[in-house]
Symmetry: C3
Subunit: 423 residues, 3 copies
C-alpha cells in the first residue's frame, strides 16, 4: 500500500458518519475488508453486559438540519458535514425560536470558523455543532429543527483481522473507528494499520488487528476475549497517525514492556517524544487497566488533544498527508521487525568462550587491532545469553545494530551454541 493509497483510503472513509454503533461503522469495516480480506465484523446485541458496561442502543441517522423558516435556507446541514450533529442525538422535529434552540448549539468561540465534534452517548439529549461564525449570523428564528435519527435496540459492531504467525503469541494492533468525519483521529491510524497488515508475510507472531469503537468497543472485545489476553506479547493503539508533527510513543502501563523498549530503540535515530503512560488517550486506557495490564503502548504523531484542529472540522483529509502516514508506517515497521526477531537464548557453552574458529565463526588470523562488528556481536550474544537478556537488550547494551546482533544469534544457534528460551 503506497502512501498515496493510504491517503486515498482516508478520503474514502471520511464522509461516513461513524459513531460507537450503527451503519457508519459497518460501512467502514466493509471498506477496510476490501483491503484485508480476513477481516470479520462482530455484532454484539444491545444490552450485552461487557465488563462494567452494557452495550448501548444502536444509533443511526439519515438527515439533520436547522432551517431558517423565513428564507428556507438550511443554515446547518448534516449532509454537508456529519460533525454538525451531536453524536447519539435523539430524534427532533420541531419549530423553535433561538431562545429555545440556543442551549442545543455548540460552537468554538476561540476558533470561530471551525465546527466542533461533540457526542452524548450515555445521557439522552440532542444538539447541533456549528461554527461560531454561523452561529453569529443566525437571527431569532423561527427555525425548523430536524434530527432524523433512531436510537433503538440493535448491535455494536467491531472488526477483527488475524494474520496467523508461526507462534501463537500475539501482537495486538487496535484502532478506534467511532469518529465521524475526522481524518487524523482516526482515519489515518486505520490506514496505517491496514498498510501494516498488508505488508506482513508469514510473520513470527500472530497479528490481531482490532477496529472497534473507542472505549465501549475495546471493552467489548476484552470482555469477549478474557482468555486470549494472556497470549498478547505486544500491543499498540494507533491514532493521529498522519499529521505533520513528530512521532510520539506513549509507554504501556508497565513502562518497560518489550514493545516500550523496542520503540525506544527504533526511535533513537528519529525526531520523537516518548511519553510515560497515563490513563487517558485512546484504548490503551482499557488494555492497560490494572486488571489486564497488557503490554500495550500507543503510537501517534501529535498526540491526543495536542493540535488546534483536534476534534474539529479542521481535522479533515488535508490535515493529514501521505508523507506523514508513511513515516508512521515505516517507524512502526522497523519496530515490528525488532519484535519479530527478538529472542532470549541460553548459551549452551557458558564456561569460557566457545572456540568459534573451529566452527568457522571467527576469523582465524589473530592479532589485528580492528574487530568486525559481526564477531563482536557473537561475543556479546554469548556473554549475555544467560536467560536474563534478549537480543534487543544485547543490542542496546553493546551499542551494535539490532540486525547485526540478531544475525550473530542465528549463526550461533545454527552452530548449536544457543538454545532459544520460550517466553
Amino acid at each position: 500500500m503506497t502512501p498515496d493509497e493510504m491517503q486515498a483510503l482516508v478520503e474514502r472513509l471520511y464522509p461516513l458518519c461513524r459513531s460507537i454503533t450503527g451503519d457508519g461503522v459497518r460501512k467502514t469495516l466493509a471498506i477496510v475488508g476490501e483491503y484485508l480480506p480476513s477481516l470479520r465484523a462482530h455484532e454484539v446485541p444491545t444490552g450485552t453486559h461487557v465488563l462494567d458496561w452494557e452495550v448501548p442502543r444502536e444509533w443511526n441517522i439519515r438527515d439533520a438540519h436547522i432551517t431558517d423558516i423565513a428564507t428556507g435556507e438550511r443554515i446547518v446541514d448534516f449532509r454537508e458535514l456529519n460533525l454538525h450533529v451531536v453524536g447519539y442525538s435523539t430524534p427532533v422535529h420541531a419549530t423553535m425560536m433561538m431562545e429555545d434552540l440556543a442551549p442545543h448549539l455548540h460552537t468554538l468561540p476561540d476558533q470561530p470558523s471551525l465546527v466542533p465534534y461533540r457526542t452524548s452517548y450515555y445521557a439522552e439529549t440532542w444538539g447541533f455543532c456549528l461554527s461560531e461564525e454561523t452561529r453569529a449570523s443566525m437571527g431569532d428564528g423561527p427555525f425548523e429543527v430536524v434530527i432524523d435519527s433512531t436510537l433503538e435496540d440493535g448491535h455494536l459492531t467491531y472488526g477483527e483481522a488475524v494474520i496467523p504467525g508461526a507462534s501463537d503469541r500475539e501482537v495486538l494492533v487496535s484502532c478506534h473507528v467511532c469518529h465521524p468525519s475526522l481524518a487524523n483521529d482516526n482515519l489515518a491510524g486505520i490506514a496505517v494499520a491496514v498498510a501494516l497488515a498488508q505488508r506482513l508475510r508469514e510473520p513470527h507472531h500472530t497479528f490481531r488487528f482490532i477496529f472497534a469503537p473507542g472505549t465501549i468497543g475495546a471493552i467489548t472485545w476484552l470482555a469477549r476475549n478474557r482468555e486470549r489476553v494472556d497470549s498478547i506479547a505486544h500491543g499498540l493503539t494507533i491514532a493521529c497517525a498522519g499529521d505533520e508533527g513528530q512521532i510520539h510513543y506513549k509507554r504501556s502501563r508497565r513502562g518497560d514492556a518489550p514493545i516500550d523498549r523496542a520503540f525506544e530503540y527504533v526511535l533513537q535515530g528519529r525526531p520523537h517524544t516518548i511519553l510515560d503512560f497515563s490513563p487517558y488517550g485512546y484504548d490503551e486506557r482499557q488494555y492497560c487497566s490494572p486488571g489486564f495490564n497488557l503490554p500495550v503502548g500507543s503510537l501517534t504523531r501529535t498526540p491526543y488533544a495536542g493540535y488546534p484542529e483536534y476534534h474539529t472540522s479542521g481535522d479533515n483529509p488535508s490535515f493529514v498527508s501521505p508523507a506523514g502516514m508513511s513515516d508512521t508506517l515505516e517507524t512502526l515497521w522497523e519496530t515490528v521487525q525488532v519484535l519479530e526477531r527478538d529472542r532470549t537464548y541460553l548459551n549452551l557453552s557458558p564456561y569460557g568462550e566457545p572456540q568459534l574458529g573451529r566452527r568457522g565463526l571467527y576469523a582465524s588470523l589473530g592479532g589485528r587491532s580492528d574487530t568486525e562488528q559481526a564477531q563482536m556481536a557473537m561475543l556479546w550474544v554469548l556473554n549475555l545469553s544467560d536467560g536474563e537478556h534478549g537480543l534487543l537488550d544485547i543490542a542496546r547494551r553493546s551499542d551494535l545494530p539490532f540486525a547485526t546482533v540478531a544475525a550473530a544469534a542465528d549463526a550461533l544457534r545454527d552452530a548449536g551454541l544457543l538454545k532459544e528460551l520460550q517466553p
Copy 2:
C-alpha cells in the same frame, strides 16, 4: 496558636535552666502543659537501665558566679545567663587565682562577644563559659568561685502528650528539652510542636508528642516503649524551627518512608533543602538506630551547627521570629494533611475502566478536548490502585494536586469502586 503566641512561648521558656535532668525540665513541661492539657510528665529514677545506657544522677543548680574579690564584682553571673555554667558542673566554693581557674574557663576566641554552651554529663567536672572579651578583662585574681549545684540520685523527666486518632497508627513528634537558654535550639521547635498539637482536631492518626532531653531522653522513651514502636507510621524530630534560613528536611534512615515522600512533595513548591539521613543531629539518631529503624525524619530551618549563633548566647529569642516559626508550622501542617489523607486503595473494578458516567462521576458530554482535573484524578486513582500505589504516589505520578487526588479517591470509594487496604 498565633505566630506571636509561639514567640511568646519561646520567651517564656527561655530563662529556665534546662539540662538532661532536673527542675528546669520540670518547669518547662509544666508550662507546655498549660498549652497541652493532655501532657503527662514521666519520672524515671536514676540508675534505671535504658537500652545500653543508665539514667544519670539528677542535676540542679541554684546559683553560680566568679567574683573578683578585690572589687566584689560578679564577673561571671549565672543569674544573668544560665549558659555561664557548664552543664552538670559539680559544686564548687573556692578562692582561686587565675592560674588554677583558667582550665575551667571556656570561650569562643573567634566570636569574642558570645558565650558558648558546654556540658559534661558523663565526666564529672565543673566549668564556666564566658565571652572572650570578659575573659580578656580578668586579672590574675584572687577570685571567689561558686557553683551552688547538686548532683544526686533523683529522676529523669520527660513529657508525653497523646492526641487520639481514629486509627491506632501513630505519628510521633519529638523535641529535645534539655537545652538551657537557647531559643532556636530548641524552644522554637517546642513552640511549633505545641502549635501543631493544638491545631489537630479528631485526627486520623494518633499523634504522640514527646518532649524529652536529647539522647538519654529519647533512649529512655524507646526503652519504655519497645512494643509501641511498631505502631509508629510516621515520625519527626523538630529543632531549629525559628531562624531565618530555609526549611531543611532530613530523610529518615529508610530514605523513602512515607514521611520522606510527603515532605518531598510538599516542599517542591517552597525554598528548601532535602538532606539524606546521617547518624548525627537530633534524636532521629536514636529513632533511626538500626534496631528500631523507625520512619522518623527531621525538620529544621537552618540545620544542626549550620549558623554562627549555634550553641552560643547568640541563639536568644531575637534570633527566632514569629514568621520563621509560622513558616515551619505551615509546612509541617501541609505535610501532616498529606499523611493524614494518604491511603492505598484497591480498584474493585480493575478490568477496563468502570463506567463513571452511570455513577454520576463523569461529565456526560464527550468529545471535548479539555478534561477536568477531577476526572483525570479519578482515572489515575483507578488505574494505579492495584495495591502498589498510595494516593501520594498517584499525585506524584500524575502531577495532580494531592487534594484533588484524595477527593477523587473519596468519590470513588463512596461509589463502591475502591476498597481501602490496611497498611
Copy 3:
C-alpha cells in the same frame, strides 16, 4: 620493587619470543620466578581438553629470514625483531619470487615504518610481518625464505604464584604472557603484577597470580580450577599498564562487584575513565563468561587497541615508563588496601546508640559544634552495620575516608560492639 626496577624487568623480558606455547613462555616464567620465588610453572600436554577447547601443539622457533639471493642481505630478520614472523608459522625453507611470497607478507600501509604483530594459532599457515617501507624496497626476487620453526606435540605452559593470606578467600590477578616483543601489552602488566606481589606482606586475602597465555591459558587454568573459582572474592586482569594515558578500569560483568566499587572509590581522586564490561579485551572475557561470571575487572592505562602503537613494533620499551607503571601500581595498591580492609559488621547494640563515652570511645565534653571525623565514623559504622552495608559502602555513604571508617570499625569491634559477618 622501584619504578626503575619495573622498567628493567620489561626490558629484560622484551627480546623473548613468547607465544601461546613454547620456550619463550618458559623463559619468561623463569625470569618472573626470580622475583617471585613461589611461582610454579604448570605444563599441560597438547591435546588436553580444556572447556570447549583443546591444548594446541607447541610452537618453537629458532630463526627466520627473507634473504635477497642477489645481494645476500637478510631483508627481514627474526633475530632483529621477533614480530617479523607470524606467530605459529609452520616451517618454510624455499626460494621464491615476490609473486608467490607476497600473500605471506603483512604490513601496515597507514603506519609505513612500523612492523605489525600477527598470529595464526588455529589455522596452519606461515607469514612475515614487515614495515611497509621495507616491503616497498623489495624487488621481484628471487628470495630465500626460511622459517626454522617446529609445531609439534608438547605442552602449554602457565605460571601461578600464591601468597597465602589469613583467609582462604582469594584475590586473582591475571596477566597474559603470550605476546612477543610488545612492551605495554603486556610486559608492563607483568611488571606491575610482580611489584604488587612483592609488596604484599601477610595479607588478609590469599592472592593468586596467574601468568598465562591469552585466551587458551586462562581457559586452561579455569578448566583445571573449576572448584577453586568459588573462592575468588575479587579478580583483575592487568594489561597496558605502562603508557602515558590515564587509568581505565573496566568493570566486571557483574558491574557492581566489590572490586568494581573499590576501584570507583579509589579512582574518584584521580584522572580516570571507568568502562562498563564488554566481552572483548583481555582474559576477563573468560573469567566473566556467563557460566563463571567471576568478579573480575580489568585494569589498564590506555585500553585495548586504543593507541596507534598497539600491536606494532612501536610498542617497545620506550613506549612505557617507570612513572606510568608506578602510577598503575599505586592505584592498584590503594584499591587492594580497600579490599583487604573492607568488612561487613553487625552492630551488636543496635537499639539506640550505644554509650560510647563509657567505653572511652567518645569525647566527654558535649555541646561543641564541631565533631571529629573519627566520632562521625563510629556513628556511621554503628548505624549502617545492619548486615547490608560493608565498610566501603559506609565510607561512600558518609563521605568519610575509607581508612577513617575502617579505624572506627576496628575500635568498635575491639569494644565488643561489632561482630564481623562472614562473606
